[in-house]
Amino acid sequence: MILEVNKLRKEVSSGDNKLVILDDVSFNLLEGQSLAITGPSGSGKSTLLGLLAGLDTATSGEIYLNGEALHELDEEQRALLRKEKVGFVFQSFELLPSLTALENVMLPSELKDEDEPEERAKYFLDRVGLKEREHHYPNQLSGGEQQRVAIARAFACSAKILFADEPTGNLDPKNGKMVSDLLFEVNSETDNALVVVTHDHDLADRCDKKINLKLGKIVE
């Protein structure tokens, strides 16, 4: 089991009121499986993704990521877990503007202090079809190209699980299709698990499992 979630609850305070974002969320995911999290805006999809990836902490409940109790780890330990086991693709790409495409892809390997990060990054950039653009900065790339760089970065970190938050949300249908094809194609070459938050039904339908959130609860 790569991911196990039990009775997850997330509350936030808004003045004197407490707002429940997620309530009683439980599910699990096996290695190599893909999961789509869907639901209307404000249903808690991105919050759930943040908790699963260890970017935020839950109010209660348990998350086991690759067998480690994520809910018991502090920020530094969660960062270490992210570095070793987790890859990300964001809706707004989150590339560092001061780094070239190649350098952005090199980042995870550099953080792990791996050998030859440049070779590895070049391989993945080639894999997403951007070999010719490796020395371009993000502002010199189109939205679709930036997202492909983000995908290359996510795979370059040899993660066990990949989290993608609306990976096609900022792209036109043509580029969206290209990115989702690429995501599944490259993922199929590894035994990574894939968790995708999406509004895109086609993308969700390609996943092995789906959960639908409504007002913070799994409804299906």
Binding site: G50, L55, E75, R82, E94, L99, E103, L111, K112
Partner: protein
Amino acid sequence: MMLFNLSLKIFLRELRSGYLTSILVSLVLAITIVSGISLFTDRLEKALSAETEEFLGGNLKFESNQNTAKSKIQRQNFQDIDFMEMVLFASVIFSEEDMQLSSVKAVDNAYPLIGELELQNKSGKFLSKESPELGTVWMDARLQNLLNLSYGDKIFLGDSEFIFAATILYEPDRASGNFAFAPKTIMNFEDVDSTNIIQPGSRVEYNYLFKGPEDEIANVRNYLETIKENGDDIEVLNEDSSSLGRTIDRSENFFLLGGLIAVLLSACTIGIASQRFTRRHVSYVAMLKTLGMKTRQIRSMYFLLFVFMTLLTLFFGLILGWTLQSQFINLMSSYFPTELPPPGYYPILITCMTVLICQFGFIYPHITKLITISPMRVLKDDVSFDYGFIPIFLMGLAAFFLLLYLYTNQLTLSLIIFFGVIGFSAIGIGSIYLLLGKNKTGLGASGPILLALSELRRRKFGNSFQIFAFTIAIGLTLITFSASQNLLGSWQTSIPEDSPNNFAINITPQDKENMQSFLQENDIKSKPFFPVTNAIIFKKNELSEDDKIDRNFNITWIEELPEQNDILKGEWFDKSLNNGISVSEDISERYNLEIGDDVFIKVGEEIIKSYVQSTRTVNWDSFSPNFFIIGHPSLFQDISSTYITSFYIPSDKQYLAADLMREFRTVSVFSIEELIEQIKEIIEQVTQALNSILLLTSLSALFLAFSALQDGFSVRKHQSAVLRTLGASNTLIKQSTLFEFTLLGFISGTLGALVAYAGIYFIETRVFETSASFYPEISIMGPLLGIIVVSSLCYYLISGITKQSPKKLLMQ
């Protein structure tokens, strides 16, 4: 109205959100400092002017050795001019028991023209605006004691007898002529004839004092220039060259310097904050344009926002500025016994000018660029915003220079500081480029040091400007610190504890040796005894009006160069027989006296031919006898003279001054103890006031450093969030950032120290006109200050970032 409301709404929203804090605080700081200092110096100048006016006794004084001027002046019938005559001479006054040489001032019925006398008689102290009644005299306390007089006692002056009516505690015209050295007597002018003291050939000085409107005084001065003869002198206000005047002048320089530094620091902060303001408003302006607002309307809206900002900052800044100047005045209240005059318009003018220059130089160019943003920005975030860096930078530099000129009022000094700062910054930026070398591929995120170095290389451009800001902040803080520690320190120690506090003149050759023994027996250290005589100097070419020297000098002749005198041109006297005279720098400049020029020295009826052998600087604050002209002894072998010296009498031996005068009747001893104390007190008070300025300047510097860092950290916030999402630990982020900024602080501190050295050199040599010194502590303090301040601020900012979850940061 819609624009007004919208603008007000934006202003209030920005105010509440805290985004305007940097600009507002910097502007308030600048206004506080400028208004505080200018209000204080303006009131101080007014008080000093009034003081000088009283010291002179009028707006203009004409000194003459002849009484022929009066009838000429009266014939001119000057309008709106008050005029008075006084005659000054030295004479021995007898009481029933004793006798004493006195400096006598005979005044007409218009006396005193300005101010009041403070007198004391049997009934106590009282103020007087009249001259002494006929047949009476007033005397100062020293003379009263020396003659052992009680009120109503008789005294004898020449062929007349007078009643001693009052003691002079304070007289307005203390600068009266060459006879002011001896204990003072004031008598009525109409009594002079009956004394039969003034005979043809008597040494007498006639003073004519004038009071009136400025333009009329100018007319009087022009007329007096036409009737002025050899030996006559015209004195006007604002030419105060006394020790006290120079002390106040220097303290004003200190204040203005402190003010300028703080304003420049605030201006840099305002520039950085404006850039941030603009970036935040890009989408807002694009949105307003999309909704149909015209560029002109948007410009007006932001202009109104400026007006609100100006009014708010002026309101608080002026209140704080007034409080600041009140504090300064309280500090110096003991020097000004009465209330200082109210300020004029100048402080408000200079404050408003500062605000306008800051706004137009450091805020407005950013807003102008902001208005050019395309409405397409609403649709596409990546629509480029041409920030137009060069025009903004040039506008900032122009404003920087204008501020420099506004405060220094000296083009050369402004240019020197301006190009000095730019030069050092260019060196700094250049050295950063050289030091950091080329970018390597990758961020080097495997370790904190590699990451820090890579960040330094990668952000060369941004780092260069942060270094520029830090360098200015640290450099200027070091200059201010040094001003308060070293410059003021050397100024304070320039008056040592045992500075001579008494001058003795009129020492006859017969008394010289006895007096030296008297001083030695009583353990009193004296300066050398200088022979002195009154002489008129002529230049060879008397036909040229420009070269004419028409004044009396007290000249001396010695073989050794007096202490605290330095030869500027030519040579000091040697053993050869062909020695000439040495003239002071100012006399050489004023009368165009060059090395080798022939001069004729007229002493009595004798004329000595000589030449200018050297020019020299004179330290007029040395409290030693100083001379404009010194001749070689060989020239004055047959000239009769008296001697002058100065010495220090400790406070517990003050009685020795009276003993000395009793034993040497012709010698006049006058104390300058009060003056020295007054100067020391002022220096101390100025130091305290300057420390407040230093505090405000350091605050401005800290604010600038913080703003520069904060600006850079908005980019780091995103990077840190991405890195942490990818698994970078907080420790890695903190350590690398700290290392990077420690290095940045070290570079800025080192460059700041260089800026400070250059600044201090120019301040010492140009502003305070002293010799330059080297302060080794600055080379340690600069880098240390850079490291501590920059890394502490960085730690504070990065801690704030790492405390937040990366998800939250990415959502921002």
